[in-house]
């Protein structure tokens, strides 16, 4: 099973690498990160700050675009081209197929994220001759967030079209980043509304947990317990999404 899973993972990774969209997205992200040098030069001495904020935000935006546009098409393409029959006719379970697709895209996101992160570190180091530790944590958290949203997009893509799946995943991203607002609203609402909003708060992924980007300019390195909680949250929520996704995928009829 492990061999099969690894094979599907690698195959998915290779498949995404063949996608020209990936190259243009990574290329554009690298360009934006490099361009942050120019923005920094007209910021009244706030170069480091501008480079850090622009680069980390560019990383997040482009990794999310990869998730939305490539992640949502993975399963759909297999069904459309009917290659899924070929795979599932072999001794490959649906769970392994689904998990392999997820891990394959995670690998793609990791490679794309690392390319962007390396460019970010080079640009920042070239300008300031130092890179705060918090920057590495923030970049890592961006990749974690993209991985979690990959699980979301894969879940949606297992029962809906790629476009709808991308829109739903974008919606989850919006709610996930507005979780603090949802919580504040719930505290001011009537008991019924409060219950609903608190339900939304706990049910939807709290993506602000992965937001270490705002701390980088002040070099606020997260504590070990904070990192531990982020990892625990990521692992448990992603596993929940994968179990849910597999359950839906199992019932799909092609």
């Amino acid at each position: 099973m492990r061999k099969v899973l690894w094979a599907i993972t690698l195959n998915t990774f290779r498949e995404t690498l063949r996608d020209k969209l990936l190259y243009s997205l990574v290329g554009f992200a690298v360009l934006v990160i490099a361009a942050s040098l120019l923005a920094g030069s007209v910021s009244l001495g706030q170069d480091a700050r501008v480079i850090q904020d622009f680069s980390l935000t560019a990383m997040l935006v482009f990794l999310l675009i990869i998730t939305y546009f490539i992640g949502t098409q993975l399963v759909f393409k297999e069904v459309e081209r009917k290659t899924i029959y070929l795979v599932l006719s072999k001794p490959v379970s649906r769970e392994t197929f689904y998990l392999g697709k997820f891990l394959g895209l995670c690998l793609t996101i990791l490679v794309a994220g690392l390319i962007m992160a390396v460019m970010f570190v080079i640009v920042l180091f070239a300008k300031t001759h130092s890179v705060p530790t918090a920057a590495y944590f923030a970049a890592g958290a961006v990749i974690l967030e993209a991985w979690l949203l990959t699980a979301v997009s894969l879940l949606f893509s297992s029962f809906t079209s790629p476009l709808s799946s991308a829109i739903y995943t974008f919606g989850v991203t919006l709610i996930g980043h507005g979780s603090a607002t949802v919580w504040l609203l719930s505290q001011k609402a009537s008991p019924v509304i409060r219950g609903i909003l608190e339900g939304v708060y706990y049910l939807f992924p709290n993506l602000e947990k992965f937001n270490l980007r705002n701390d980088v300019v002040f070099n606020l390195t997260p504590s070990a317990s904070q990192v531990g909680l982020i990892l625990l949250y990521f692992a448990s929520y992603t596993v929940f999404l994968l179990i849910l996704g597999v359950a839906v995928f199992r019932k799909d009829e092609f």
Binding site: L44, G45, Q46, R49, V50, D53, H177, N214
Partner: protein, 268 residues
């Protein structure tokens, strides 16, 4: 190639139209001027995807371009709003507060500058710069020396505050006619500072104020004896109440107000 050439011609014509034609919109040449339209802080936070520092940087760059580009309205109408938005999005952006406190008052927004300073003091409680710069706004643009002195006193309590900060607090209290308070501040500075220049200046200020108190005592005695105030300080010498009018170590002459006997510094 034909279409490329055509696009080149169109571009040239468009550019010359933008540069040389006089289209006006509400009296403003819209070809060279677009005023920033900042979002409300809550909306900006909602659309930032959590990247509030990034959005703060975006508005910071917008603000710099806006201020550097000049304004046909004669006043930077959006300047205070932009500073407020940047510091709402990034509450610990020290450079934004400092820049705002320096340029806002000069552009006709002293009250907004003070509000910005108050926000800075709240969000950056360890910064001596926030009360220091706010104090300067009170002094220069509001002529409110008591508030300026209070701000400088707060600044002086912060770590890394320059030794002269407390000295300035004394100066402002003196300007606000709160001489006893000013004297106590100068004395504290004189007794505690490690900066030679500040100690020397505080010592001179103390002697200057002691001379003022001495002269006011003499004026009170004069009033008791003659039922009126002297018209010039030399009268105190003529009537043998004091031996001579002291000379201030600050090189400032003392003068008296014959109406109320108040001794002050000559502004000449």
């Amino acid at each position: 190639m034909v279409f490329l050439g055509l696009s080149f011609v169109a571009q040239i014509n468009y550019d010359s139209w933008r540069r040389y034609s006089p289209p006006k919109l509400l009296g403003v040449d819209y070809n060279v001027y677009i005023e920033p339209q900042p979002l409300s802080p809550s909306l900006a936070k909602a659309v930032s995807f959590g990247s509030t520092e990034f959005l703060a940087d975006y508005y910071w760059l917008t603000l710099i371009q806006y201020y550097g580009g000049g304004t046909p309205y004669g006043k930077y109408r959006k300047l205070a709003e932009l500073f407020s938005l940047v510091t709402d999005l990034s509450p610990k952006f020290q450079q934004a507060y400092q820049t705002g406190l320096i340029i806002l008052p000069g552009e006709g927004f002293p009250d907004q500058a003070i509000t910005l300073g108050e926000k800075g003091k709240k969000n950056l409680p360890d910064s001596w710069e926030m009360p220091y710069y706010t104090g300067l706004v009170h002094h220069i643009y509001k002529k409110d020396y008591v508030s300026a002195a209070k701000e400088f006193q707060i600044a002086a309590t912060k770590k890394d505050a320059p030794p002269i900060t407390q000295y300035f607090a004394g100066i402002y209290y003196k300007e606000a006619d709160q001489r006893q308070l000013a004297y106590q501040i100068f004395k504290t500075v004189h007794d505690t500072t490690k900066d030679d220049f500040v100690r020397e200046r505080s010592g001179k200020q103390m002697v200057h104020l002691e001379m003022t108190f001495f002269l006011e005592d003499a004026v009170a005695k004069y009033h008791q004896r003659f039922g009126r105030y002297p018209s010039i300080l030399q009268e105190l010498v003529f009537k043998q109440i004091i031996k001579e009018v002291p000379i201030s170590p600050l090189g400032i002459n003392f003068v008296i107000d014959p109406q109320n006997g108040k001794v002050s510094e000559s502004r000449k």
